[in-house]
Symmetry: C2
């Protein structure tokens, strides 16, 4: 087979693929605010949520970030997003990991305060995306009533997107979601003795 | 059990967990530039790579983005990252999906040009992170020799991080990587007839 016939075969294959692709695209007509969840034990759950925030900001849409667990320390993404203070609101409501605070009452109080902030964001038509970072952890420890969370999410503006991160997303939340991605660990540098590094983990 | 004993049990459990956590952290001492791969058929591969870019930018490190397939059209993340033109270089070297170009020769030529740009970035000590968006697709179609890619990656500065995205990461690339995450599709809104929306997909 000459290189030229190879190229022609490729072209025919791609023409067919484009027809399939175009048909699929034409069948999708619904526009709606998505409830998205990034879960699993792999890396990239919060990272992808902030990547999504970046995409929304690029489109000139307002973004509200509420952090449930993290927040007591500075992160690269938080510093970077300061350049978008015309469009982005950042609320670090967490007081650190549960094994740092070691105080269940204090963790619950912090989560309840955080949810008040979320509820306000979920009532605003001008907010395009709400990022609920590590909410799954708060739900996992029963720091917030799942029923209230589901009700408030369902009552948000029709075109508002929400992305929720954290391991162990509750089944009822997965059920309510439009988009669920599991970040699966295939290989991790921590296992090879590499430490958490600036710009990578925080 | 009273609420107070419940809280005390929680505290003891968390103290033990913190000891384990601190020990684990203390055992990780290596610092190195990571070769990271975001693969799988789920959403969030490129999104997480741009989230990582954001984190690096927040830490004041230089980032170079090279897009292999995408690039012929505007995206939210590209527009947003214009606010970091003091630290970020963006090279859209792709000419669209393979089923759009329908020209294998042209696709290969675009990938070869892109790799020249990558090689320059991989030789620069002042670049903290190189994002190779959709490189896996180019490798999958044999648009670039995998051996050259692996050699050039191995020869980069010791502290430079690289993140590669795209489905079907080649086995030899996974082998060479420090961190591999598979984005797994649990539920997708396209299946429910929802179209690609600004700020979410692009």
């Amino acid at each position: 087979m000459t290189d030229e016939t190879d190229n022609q075969r490729h072209q025919m294959k791609m023409q067919r693929r484009k027809e399939v692709q175009d048909k699929e695209v034409s069948e999708k007509t619904i526009e709606k605010g998505l409830l998205a969840i990034n879960t699993g034990s792999g890396k990239g759950k919060s990272t992808a949520a902030f990547g999504l925030a970046l995409r929304m900001l690029g489109r000139g849409k307002r973004v509200v970030v509420v952090q449930f667990i993290k927040g007591a320390w500075s992160t690269g993404e938080k510093i970077a997003l300061e350049r978008f203070d015309d469009l982005l609101e950042w609320h670090s409501m967490g007081e650190g990991f549960t094994w740092e605070t070691q105080d269940r009452h204090r963790d619950i109080a912090a989560c309840v305060r955080a949810w008040d902030v979320v509820r306000t964001a979920l009532s605003r038509d001008d907010v395009g995306l709400v990022v609920l970072d590590e909410l799954n952890i708060a739900l996992r420890y029963d720091y917030l009533p799942l029923e209230t969370v589901l009700e408030d999410l369902a009552a948000r503006p029709a075109m508002q997107h929400v992305v929720i991160t954290g391991r162990n997303a509750p089944a009822a939340l997965v059920e309510a979601a439009d988009l669920v991605t599991e970040m699966t660990l295939v290989k991790h540098h921590f296992k090879a003795g590499v430490k958490a590094q600036e710009g990578i983990e925080f």
